[in-house]
């Protein structure tokens, strides 16, 4: 007896987690539940990375997406006035059109997926020096572009939300 059967079982559980939780995020009405289910999706994705032997990517996935981004989304939800989302406000009329698009996309993807043979995953994804070397040499330009994009987003957020402080001070004084 060996433990070869464990990996497919784990993969099946994780796939159900990713797809089920991902579908629930879109379909569910409660926004906090949706945020938490998104965290579950990220966790299952991290599990997939572990199965592929890329522990480092999995750790970063959990660290950034579950630990920081989901918490920030929950934070935002708690600060905004919330109510249950009105049911199907935007998408109600487009249902047939959406179905056509989904079908048009899903059939080729499914067809492709059945005849897809992946190269075997190379072990050593937990090898941090190799990963760091490739990020800072081969992929240095995309890395920098991504960081500039994030910087621009951050500056934009600050500019959008910053108020004129002296003006506000005067307003408060006048009251």
């Amino acid at each position: 007896m060996t433990f070869d059967f464990v990996e497919p079982v784990v993969f099946a559980v994780l796939s159900i987690g990713v797809i089920g939780a991902g579908a629930a995020v879109v379909l569910i009405n409660r926004i906090t539940a949706a945020a938490l289910l998104m965290a579950l999706t990220f966790l299952c994705m991290a599990g997939m990375f572990v199965l592929l032997g890329a522990e480092t990517i999995a750790a970063f996935q959990v660290l950034i997406y579950v630990g920081a981004i989901t918490v920030l989304i929950l934070y935002g939800v708690m600060f905004t006035k919330y109510g249950d989302r009105p049911y199907g406000l935007f998408f109600q009329r487009q249902t047939p059109l959406a179905a056509v698009f989904v079908f048009a996309l899903a059939v080729p993807v499914a067809y492709w997926a059945f005849f897809f043979t992946s190269p075997p995953p190379r072990p050593g994804g937990g090898d941090l020096p190799a990963l760091a070397t490739s990020v800072f040499t081969d992929y240095a330009f995309p890395f920098e572009v991504a960081s500039v994009l994030l910087l621009a987003a951050m500056v934009g957020a600050i500019v959008l939300t910053k108020r004129d402080e002296t003006h506000e001070f005067d307003e408060r004084r006048r009251r």
């Binding site: 007896m1 060996t2 433990f3 906090t32 539940a33 938490l36 965290a39 522990e55 480092t56 750790a59 970063f60 959990v62 660290l63 579950v66 630990g67 920081a68 989901t70 918490v71 920030l72 929950l74 934070y75 708690m78 600060f79 937990g126 090898d127 941090l128």
Partner: protein
């Protein structure tokens, strides 16, 4: 048939090892929490000139056991307006990451759950997941105090994670490995990392106090402002799981990281001859650090939330970045010896500690100036 440890078939040994490891970790967490609560109460009593618990058992040693039994036997109270599933899930969300992070703590040379080569990254990852449980607990309680506690906790933990990770990076730069076992092995002599990298030790220590919600950073559960913060609506063993087990378990994990990275972990005199002695050294180091945490709790008052945030973003993070820069440059320039790194780190530490009064004085002057300016029109009008 291949023979594994204890003459067992490896196929049987693999799942058995998992069960034994989890059972051992649970045993240590449960008893560690009981012991630490007792220690905390006794030490605070000592420092505040009281007696502390002394009725149950000799020296009050059984007091926390009695408390735990009471918590388990308590009626499960669930307020009506709470968000049922989240309210039930939150204690588990807080507890599970803490339990999982015990996997990589090296108790002795061979006594470690799993020698992951990304052990340190794994620990920080799990540390960041605790926030989710706390935020959910604050949200699901449907209580304003709990919500504010949860929000404070989210802000605080996300902010203090940054200097924490940046402080870890400097150790990784010097040692060259993320594995907890390798980091311990690299500090074989008396020259442990705290002598080479004292500045990152101090940064991590401060950030760890905030990360485990200990005084002076226990704002998420500040009892004078928020009743009990995110724990307000919880009672019985749910409260016990969240507060007692998770908080003290987290304190133990953080002290384990501190002991492993900077104090040499299980290394100590006589370990080479008797490997099991490593457990003793590791436990002693961890509990010495826990005692310092308790000492700080009995000494320092609580900060305000804006002071907490500005200290992190304007003080700790720049300091940690400068630390990384100095350590990286010096260890690249002198790959053979660690002396320049040590000298640079000590200079940074002295500059940081000596700079605090100067910054404080400038801040006070600024505050006084602002107060005077805002008082001027009032005085002119009267």
């Amino acid at each position: 048939m291949p023979i594994g440890p204890f003459g067992l078939d490896p196929v049987i040994w693999a799942p058995l090892r998992l069960v034994v490891a989890v059972a051992l970790a649970l045993f240590l967490i449960l008893n560690g929490a009981l012991l630490q609560i007792y220690l905390e109460r006794k030490i605070q009593a000592m420092m505040q000139d009281r007696l502390g618990p002394y009725h149950v058992g000799p020296f009050g040693l059984l007091q926390t056991f009695a408390d735990a039994l009471k918590l388990i036997a308590k009626e499960d109270v669930r307020p009506k307006g709470t968000d049922s599933y989240f309210f039930l899930a939150a204690p588990a969300l807080v507890f599970c990451p803490m339990l999982a992070s015990w996997v990589v703590l090296p108790f002795a040379g061979d006594i470690v759950g799993a020698n992951l080569n990304i052990g340190l990254l794994y620990l920080t990852t799990l540390g960041s997941m605790t926030v989710l449980g706390i935020v959910v607990a604050g949200w699901a309680s449907n209580n304003k105090y709990a919500l504010v506690g949860g929000l404070r906790s989210a802000g605080q933990l996300i902010s203090y994670e940054i200097p924490q990770i940046l402080a870890l990076v400097s150790v990784v730069l010097v040692v060259g490995s993320l594995s907890m076992v390798d980091i311990t092995r690299s500090q074989a002599g008396p020259l442990v990392n705290v002598l080479i990298l004292p500045f990152s030790f101090v940064i991590y220590f401060i950030a760890a106090l905030a990360e485990t919600n200990r005084t002076p950073f226990d704002l998420p559960e500040a009892e004078s402002e928020l009743v009990a913060g995110w724990l307000t609506e919880y009672s019985g063993m749910r409260w016990g799981t969240m507060l007692a087990l998770s908080e003290y378990g987290n304190v133990t994990v953080v002290c384990g990281i501190l002991a492993t990275l900077w104090l040499g972990g299980w290394q100590g005199p006589g370990v080479d001859a008797l490997p099991l002695l490593g457990v003793v050294w590791f436990t002693l180091k961890v509990y010495a650090l826990i005692l310092v945490f308790m000492w700080i709790r009995a000494t320092l008052p609580r900060l305000r939330i804006d002071q907490l945030m500005s200290f992190c973003w304007k003080g700790l993070i720049p300091a940690a970045l400068v630390n990384i820069l100095v350590v990286a440059v010096l260890s690249l320039a002198f790959p053979d010896t660690r002396a320049p790194v040590a000298i640079g780190s000590w200079i940074l530490l002295i500059a940081f500690v000596a700079g605090l009064p100067l910054v404080q004085r400038r801040r006070l002057a600024g505050l006084r100036e602002r107060a005077r300016r805002s008082a001027l029109p009032v005085r002119a009008a009267s």
